[in-house]
Amino acid sequence: MPGSGARRRPAPGAALAGLMLGLVLILLPAGLLARPVAAATTVRVLMPSPFVDSTAPLVASFNREHQDLRIEVARGPLDTEAMSDLAIGGLLLGDTAYDMLLMDVSWTAKYVAAGWLVPLEGLLGDDALEAMVPGARTGNAFGGHLWRMPLTGDTGLLYWRTDLMAEPPRTTTELEAVSRRLQAEGKVRWGYVWQGRQYEGLSCVMLEMIHAFGGQWWQTGSGRAGGQTELDSPGAIAAADWLVHLVRSGVSPAAVADFAENESLQLFAAGDAAFLRIWPYAWREIERGGGPVVGKVGVSTVVSAPGFRSGGTLGTWGLSLLAGSPHPEAAAEVIRWFTGPETQKALVLDQGYAPTWASLYEDPELKRKHPLLAVQRQALEQGPEVRPLTPLYAQLSDLLQRQINGLITAEGSAADAMAMAQSQSAVLLESAAGQDSA
């Protein structure tokens, strides 16, 4: 420890030096320099802006309690895509400013293939995910390694108005019928709002709808890309058809074509829609917003076509260790703390985040204070839908978004759009196979 050397030899000069050193040590953190001079290991984490704010008190108390290990959080942008660009920019530049990164589940395969991540099983143990709810484990370990520890267990959920109906709809047909009835009675302007902008959120909506109509986006197979798409299957076409039908028949506003999470949430929270498809955090946001629907919102799993069952899309955020981190052991300790049950419990209570540990879903305090947990557990156990686990996911998602967004903003049939998405995906995967053999 700094300062102890001066104590061992109590000569006057050394004592003076020690005193001055002590003074400096007190003054420095007090504002002269931002960084403490103590020989503590500093672990740097890059996170999207909302997570920086939500975890700030927890990180501060961690830093108070630990003398030799400090967490330094860098604030990324709010928007997920801007966050991805910033993180990738740093990694491409070979800039090792960060030890770890809070990542969206859909980035993992790409980062692994790029060689940017360090396997975690050696540091955290082979059973690191064991005590988590099954659904929350998916998308973190593949190819024989653990790449990421999830901090949240988000899935797509259906928000509904308890003042307008007694029970949430279970099927797409019911949802549509209830919406139309409420719209006809003048109770709400719109029936169902969701995310239809050309961005990743639209792929999340599409994925759960494809499963809700009995199809699937991705069939795991061989090769570097790891499988094949099935976007022209009857189920996938029916899913696209239903979404565009919602817009064209006025159940959903045409403006969903430019809606991301915040726009759709804004409309629902203002009391203008009967149903909203969004993530778990929105419940707390609505409660905090103090708008007209506070206390009138119920949460359920997403709807499916009669005879099928879809889990919501898995949309978790988790911590990964970046290659080039100078102190992986210290970083692993921070990951263990950050994703551990205590931190997650605090985040459930403060922020309404969905936890990943099974024990937290049994916690009586949480159950009492956060009624969402029962539904959330059901969604996670029902088997949430995972976006295609391939390094080429970003391209696949991008071309699907373009087709679906084009479908809801213009003319055209769902069958044509999905056939186009399928053939474009096939071309992409084929060219990847070409790279494979090269």
């Binding site: 990738i88 790029a114 961005y199 074509a257 390094p391 391209q395 790279q435």
Partner: protein, 296 residues
């Protein structure tokens, strides 16, 4: 240049060398490097390491509907917005050229949109176009019209992206044309006025013909810049809806920074460059006259 010692040429070359060297590093090397990278597979599937794959990237480009759609879209964007900019820029230059009090301030204020950062302005336009709370929709509401989704359908989004670009770059065109107007001797105009020519006749018979070199210069410059349009679409529309406003530069950017496919990104960069070269050459031939007197 008489009267200089024999080694002047060497001295001149040495004086120019540092600047030319930097230009070579920042312009020539990247183009050569991109040309080389376009013959390589370098993506997540190769662990980001370049591996020669012959013409596979170029083959993919030829069959890539999205590339052709973006190329056509970028071209259409460039032609329409530069055309509008020339017309509006000429009008603006004529206004700025007229003598009067406070002309200096007027020029400075008219120049502002050009001087401010594109990203900042694009963000501003996103708010101006906001449905339903933006100022344009507030105006519509004032007249009792329903809210309008400026950025919700491909056709309107494209139109309003062009408008934002025209607003931002017209002052630059106006400034170049103003330089041209200033070079026209006032006596010529006066003699036409004495002959009884109307303002529109003066414009047609005197101003426009004499402005031609400046119009060509503005045209070349703006066309090249518009073909590389990037920040405006990245911030204002992100290429949406349905990819309708995606520019070639944005597609290349996405391939590198989001899809991690550098080989294909480089192919797109080189293809855009070739397209630019082709158009500039065509412009050069069409206009025949050099945009600038190169050798004095």
């Amino acid at each position: 240049m008489k009267g200089f010692p024999m080694n002047t040429s060497l001295v001149n070359t040495l004086l120019m060398l540092p600047a030319l060297l930097l230009l070579a590093i920042v312009f020539a090397w990247p183009l050569l490097d991109s040309a080389w990278l376009s013959t390589q597979a370098s993506s997540v599937l190769t662990g980001l390491a370049p591996t020669a794959n012959g013409g596979a990237n170029w083959q993919r480009l030829l069959g890539d509907a999205r590339f052709w759609q973006d190329a056509a879209g970028t071209l259409r964007f460039a032609v329409v917005s530069v055309g509008l900019e020339l017309v509006l820029g000429l009008a603006m230059a004529l206004v700025l050229h007229r003598p009067g009090r406070g002309r200096g301030w007027l020029r400075a204020l008219a120049l502002l949109p050009w001087a401010l950062p594109s990203t900042v302005l694009a963000l501003g336009w996103r708010w101006i176009y906001n449905d339903p709370y933006g100022p344009l929709n507030s105006l519509l509401k004032l007249f009792g019209a329903p809210a309008y989704g400026f950025l919700t359908t491909p056709a309107t989004t494209w139109l309003f992206t062009v408008l934002a670009d025209v607003w931002k770059t017209t002052p630059f065109v106006a400034l170049l044309l103003l330089a041209g107007l200033q070079s026209i001797p006032a006596e010529l105009e006066e003699s036409l006025v004495l002959e009884g020519a109307s303002p529109s006749q003066i414009l047609r018979r005197l101003t426009l013909p004499l402005l031609r070199p400046w119009i060509s210069l503005a045209l070349m410059f703006r066309l090249a810049q518009a073909l590389g349009v990037f920040e405006l679409v990245q911030v204002l529309t992100r290429g949406g809806p349905a990819g309708s406003t995606e520019s070639l530069a944005l597609y290349a950017y996405l391939n590198a920074m989001r899809f991690l496919d550098f080989g294909y990104s480089a192919t797109l960069v080189v293809a855009t460059f070739l397209l630019l070269l082709l158009l500039t050459a065509m412009g050069w031939l069409l206009l025949r006259r050099r945009p600038l007197e190169i050798s004095r």
